[in-house]
Subunit: 320 residues, 2 copies
C-alpha cells in the first residue's frame, strides 16, 4: 500500500487533466487525456475514472490510497447537488457527475465550477497566497472569474457567482455571445482583440501583423497582437491598450463592489504580461474608488494551465 | 432597574437617529436630533451620547440596562479599528468614534458603514428576511449599497465593499462626483434624474412638470419626475424608464458577479415603486445571465428611513 493521496480533475471540453497529490497538496503525477464528449456521458465518466487510476499508479500508489476527489467542470453547476447544469462544450445538461463518479469510485467527490476551482488553486498555491479576499479573472476565449471571500470559494446562492465577463461596461457596446451587449467579454477577450486587429487591417492600417500571418488575416489571434505590440507595432499596441482599458473598467467595478486585497489575472491573454498589465492598472486607477485601489494588488496568475488541477486538488483536500 | 436593552445609532450628516430595542430587536423608543457637525467632533459625540441616554429613558430603562451599541456611519470606515476614515458630510477624517464612545459609555460599541448597516436591517427585519445572499441598493442623492453574504455583512478587505454606485456601466458616460465617468450614480441617482428633466424642458419638450414647479425648473427633483410619470406624463415616464434601465444594468452586473437570491432597492428614488421597478426588472432580465436572473427576487425595501437604526440595532445584537 502506497501513501494517502487526493485527486484533482480539471474537466474541459477538449481535455481531462487529472493530478494525484499528497495530503499537503504537492502534485505527484499528472495525466492528460482527450475528453471527446461526442462519445457520450458514460464514455467521458469512464475516461475520468481511468485518468484517476492512472494518476494514482504514476504517483506510486493505487486506487485504494485515494482519500477524496475534487473536480472542476465548465458551468453553471450546482455544487450542492453535484450536478453539471449546463456545459455547451461537453454537450451536457443536468448531468449528476458527483453521483456517477461516487458510484464508480466509492470515494467522496466534490464538484465546483472550473473558474472557481482555478481561483482556489491560485489562492492556495499561486499568486493569491497572501490574500484573504481575492478576485480571479481569466481572459482567453472568454472572460471568466472566481471569487475567494474570507478564504473560501464564494459561489453565490445558486453556484453561479463570478461571471465577471458578463458585466456590462459599455451600455450600447457590441453584442456578446450571451445575448447582452457591451459585456466585458465582448470587448476584451481574445477573439475581440483579434477581430479588432483584422478590422483595422481591412480598413487599410499598416502593421507588422499582416506579415506575421503571411497575409492570412483569419490566422491573427490575440497572441499575434501581443507579439506585434511587444515588437513595437503601433496599431497592435493601441489594440492591447484598449483591451486593457476595458479590463481595467471591469476590474475597477469589482474593486468598488468587492474591495478585495488581490486581483489575479490568468488565461492566455494575460501571457502578454506587463504589456497588458501596465495600461490595465492605469485604467483601473482612473475608474476605481481611490482608497480601495490603493490597497489592492493586481497581479498575473502564477499557475498557468495548472490552476485547474491544482485547484481541484485543493477542493479534494477540503473534503478530508 | 429596567430590562436589558441594545442601542442602534444611525449617524448622518444632518441628523442622528438613535433607537433602543429589546434583545429580540424590537424597537422600544427612537430619538432624533440634528447632527450639526460644524460644532466639532466632541459636540457630535456628546449629542450621540445624549440620544442614547434619552432613548434608554424613553424605553423605560436607564443607561445601566444597555448591553451594547451599534453605529452606522457614512464611510469609508475601518470596522476593525472602529474609525471613520472619511465622511465629507460630517467633515470627519480618521475619527476613532468607537474609542471615543466606549470611553464615554463604558459599553461595547460596534461600527459599520451606513449602507452596510441599512442592508443588515433589511436582511434581518425587512425585505431580505428570507435571503441568505442579498444585495441592498439605495438610490437617493447618490447610489450606495451593502452586501449580505452567507447571512453576514460582507465589508471587503478594508471595509469598503458595496460601492455599487461607482460601477462604470457606460464607458464614456457623464462625469461623476467621484472623478470617474459613466458611474451608475452619475446616470441614475436622484440628481441625474432631475437634471435630465430640467435639460429636456430647456430644450423645449412639453411636460406637466413645468407647471408642477410653477416654472421654477431648479425646484424639479426626482420626486417631481416620479409624480409626473405616475400622472401619465410622457417625458417623465421616459426619464424614469431610462434611469430604470441604467439601474437594471448595474443590478444585472451584481447578479452576474454575486449571484444573490435577493436584491433589495431602497432610498428616496425607490419610492416610485413599480413605476420604477417594472422597467428596471425588464432591463435586468435583458442584461443578466438567464439562469441567475430567474432565481433572484428584485424587491423594494420595507423599512424606509428606519433601515439605518434597525440595522444598527442588529449590529449591537451581534456584539452580545
Amino acid at each position: 500500500m502506497g501513501k494517502a493521496l487526493v485527486i484533482g480533475v480539471d474537466l474541459g471540453g477538449t481535455k481531462v487533466a487529472t493530478a494525484a497529490a499528497d495530503l499537503d497538496g504537492l502534485l505527484l503525477a499528472k495525466v492528460i487525456e482527450p475528453t471527446r464528449p461526442e462519445r457520450g456521458i458514460g464514455a467521458v465518466i469512464e475516461t475520468i475514472v481511468d485518468t484517476i487510476k492512472e494518476a494514482a499508479t504514476s504517483a506510486g500508489a493505487s486506487k485504494s490510497d485515494i482519500r477524496s476527489v475534487g473536480i472542476g467542470s465548465p458551468g453553471p453547476i450546482d455544487p450542492k447537488a453535484g450536478v453539471v447544469v449546463f456545459a455547451p462544450n461537453l454537450m451536457w445538461h443536468n448531468v449528476p457527475i458527483v453521483e456517477l463518479l461516487e458510484s464508480e469510485l466509492d470515494l467522496p467527490v466534490c464538484l465546483e465550477n472550473d473558474a472557481n476551482v482555478a481561483a482556489l488553486g491560485e489562492y492556495r498555491f499561486g499568486a493569491g497566497r497572501k490574500s484573504s479576499n481575492m478576485v480571479y479573472i481569466t481572459v482567453s476565449t472568454g472572460v471568466g472569474g472566481g471569487l475567494i471571500l474570507d478564504g473560501e470559494i464564494y459561489a453565490g446562492s445558486f453556484g453561479m457567482a463570478g461571471e465577471v465577463g458578463h458585466m456590462t461596461i459599455a451600455d450600447d457596446g457590441p453584442l456578446c455571445g450571451c445575448g447582452n451587449q457591451g459585456c466585458l467579454e465582448a470587448l476584451a477577450a481574445g477573439p475581440a482583440i483579434a477581430r479588432k486587429a483584422q478590422a483595422c487591417i481591412l480598413h487599410g492600417q499598416e502593421t507588422i501583423m499582416t506579415d506575421m500571418v503571411s497575409g492570412r488575416l483569419e490566422e491573427i489571434t490575440s497572441k499575434t497582437v501581443g507579439e506585434a505590440a511587444a515588437a513595437g507595432d503601433i496599431l497592435a499596441k493601441e489594440i492591447v491598450d484598449k483591451a486593457a482599458e476595458y479590463l481595467g473598467i471591469g476590474i475597477a467595478n469589482l474593486i468598488n463592489v468587492i474591495n478585495p486585497d488581490t486581483i489575479v489575472i490568468g488565461g492566455g491573454v494575460s501571457n502578454m504580461g506587463e504589456l497588458l498589465l501596465q495600461p490595465l492598472r492605469r485604467a483601473t486607477q482612473r475608474r476605481a474608488m481611490k482608497a480601495a485601489f490603493e490597497k489592492v494588488e493586481i497581479v498575473k496568475a502564477e499557475l498557468g494551465s495548472d490552476a485547474g488541477v491544482v485547484g481541484a486538488v485543493c477542493l479534494a483536500l477540503g473534503r478530508l
